[in-house]
Symmetry: C2
Subunit: 408 residues, 2 copies
């Protein structure tokens, strides 16, 4: 039978057709009025999408480039920073801190878990310059409660900067950048904004701009001060990824459309969409006898699922691709072979989600030899979709995207 | 929640991405060596795909243009023709015959049914010039057994030409053009070959070429003799739809790939794919309490489904689009409001099919208020997919695509 290739990976995510068309049409020189109009529009859209009064900058690099920029621009060698690490991307903060000579304090929790606030409080020192954390740890599909973490920092070391990797968190969990005091929030193009990899963006607070002036690190391509200056003139400091910027504009137009023309509402619709796909997926897989890997703080960006002892999650990934054309991901690092991960961030809908569960029933039955009845996972997911009310996320006072906030 | 637009219509059908890319790249002048190489390749592929030693021609028009060409080129005013009509497209043969002054004999059956061979035999006259029929009547999703009809003609009036509208039949049912003696077989681009509308193609037998010389009808754009002459020189008689031809080439490459590099095997894979999608759909909808509109001779091109008395099938079409982004079609003509139709021809796969059934469960429950349990249609479709063996169509001696042929 035919098999269409469909990405269910937490980046890259499925491309928005309107963004693909805009990319194909982007035959624009980057030092022209035409590009300046495009760039100015996209930066303004991005600011609304992210939801902040702070500056929002675009960089032509992957999310890791923006992570590096938020270390190299904000610290100096021997500065003390606190890294909150719960997986592969938390470990990347540590590696970046060390690469730039920081004195790295570390709060770690096992893969699949989130942080204890008292431990964070105890780890904050009077001279902690900045705290680095993920909003959602993609490698384990775990969500950290940034609102609660921000509160602890404000109460303990209000001088410390809060830098949040929202690469898979943006569009899958709610943020109030200005209200909570997030100094830097980082996003990537191949995630909830539905375009290919190659762009990163970040919001930068006044406090972060002030810190930047004090940094003694050498910087050039990732010198955010230069980018801010260029952005004010409608350009990028260096040759930008023009087609991706055109695609991003089209994607933000689409997201605005999902919010009735309002990008802030579109961002909420995006989170809610991911939550619905995630809730259906979790219910369907639990009904098939699978165990969720991060049950206490699951992210809506992706769902991580454990395979029964003695089985290899790589087989699930491989067979699903071979038999159905659907691409999911294995665990990373220590989790390889133990979990598989299914993405919900970005351009996914009900039909994608239910179709993947149908295919996974066959993988569960025929590849993993689990004792299931065909249809039992699907029926559970159907019930979740039936019960899911529009806008229920909006009624959640903590804005964390879950009915009962883990930290409230 | 997000809703991707997905066509489940029996033309246009979902576009093959590789064909879209080829179309976008088709910046070619049609009177150049580059185009001649493309056109010659595509015509040769098409001949293999259709499966004949006869000439195969491409026309830049919709399928109806090729239907007209097979009337205007093969008949003269007052010629007797026999039209076998079982729906809207059968009626089109009658309209075309009358438009060109033919003396039209008619065998009709009610919508949703197929023909009785004895009735066809009785309707054939010694001076019947040609018989016009659909392989699959798209308006009712019914399949006619061309093999059996061809046999009756051969046995009764072997001089008569057999002209088959295979617009939705090609790629959803098997043909042996040369073995059965099909003089003209017509296909369209927006059907099983996965590209947009705008191209038609037809195979033409030696007997049909001979008849063409005798025709007294005025012809110009649709003069097939001119097209044959141009095609031999690697060109089309008039300005062709270049991008669609490039797209068709890419689609035929894909279909060949599905047959391990062999277009004839790819065509069989295409039929089998449609059969699997159709079988899943029928089982799923019957499990939900729906009644199939053409249960005795269902086509694999599409499935037509009756809605319960007093309900409007247009509501199903409308709500499915509004709630899930999936586009199916209402009945045509007298059937409007009574049936809805779901396509299986072309670029559909398991995941498309199971996802649509999931969405239809909600339409059945919430829009039509049918007393169903969520999951019951899905479970039935899952079982069909589980039971479906690869290549079972190939083992069917009558090549009609069904386990028990209606006419063998």
């Amino acid at each position: 039978m035919f098999r269409k290739t469909r990405l269910f990976t937490p980046g890259p995510t499925p491309l928005l057709p309107a963004a693909q068309f805009a990319m194909a049409a982007a035959d624009i020189h980057h030092r022209t009025a035409e590009f300046r109009a495009l760039y100015t529009k996209v930066l303004a859209q991005l600011k609304e999408f992210v939801g902040t009064k702070n500056d929002v900058l675009l960089l032509s690099c992957s999310g890791t480039g923006a992570m590096e920029a938020s270390v190299s621009n904000l610290t100096s060698p021997s500065d003390r920073i606190l890294v909150l690490s719960a997986g592969k991307f938390g470990e990347r903060w540590t590696a970046l801190g060390k690469a730039f000579g920081c004195n790295v304090d570390l709060v770690t929790v096992p893969y699949g878990e989130t942080f204890d606030l008292a431990t964070i409080k105890a780890a904050l020192k009077p001279d902690t310059k900045a705290v680095y954390v993920q909003a959602t740890e993609t490698s384990t599909a775990t969500r950290h409660c940034i609102q609660a973490i921000a509160k602890v920092i404000q109460a303990t070391t209000p001088e410390a900067l809060l830098v949040v990797d929202g690469i898979t968190g943006l569009g899958t969990t709610h943020f109030d950048i200005d209200g909570w005091g997030i100094d830097v929030l980082i996003g990537g193009s191949q995630k909830a904004v539905m375009i290919p990899p190659g762009l990163a963006y970040l919001s930068v607070s006044d406090k972060a701009w002030a810190a930047m002036e004090a940094s003694k690190n050498p910087r050039y391509y990732f010198d955010l001060r230069k980018e801010r200056k260029s952005a004010k003139a409608g350009e990028s400091a260096y040759t930008p990824s023009v087609a991706l910027i055109a695609g991003l504009g089209a994607a933000l137009d689409y997201i605005a459309g999902q919010g009735g023309g309002d990008l802030a509402k579109g961002r909420i619709a995006l989170v809610e969409n991911a939550e619905t796909c995630a809730a259906m997926t979790r219910a369907g897989l639990v009904a098939l006898g699978f165990t969720l890997f991060a049950p206490t703080a699951p992210s809506a960006a992706a769902t991580a699922v454990s395979v029964p002892e003695g089985l290899d999650s790589g087989t699930v990934v491989k067979e699903l691709k071979a038999k159905f054309g659907a691409v999911i991901t294995n665990g990373q690092g220590d989790m390889k072979g133990k979990i598989f991960r299914i993405a919900h961030l970005g351009f996914f809908d009900y039909m994608d989600t239910i179709a993947l569960l149908g295919a996974l029933e066959f993988i569960a039955r025929d590849t993993l030899k689990l004792p299931i009845q065909l249809g039992q996972g699907l029926a559970a997911a159907q019930q979740v979709f039936a019960d899911r009310k529009e806008n229920q996320v909006l009624n959640n006072p903590c804005l964390c995207g879950r009915q009962t906030c883990c930290r409230s």
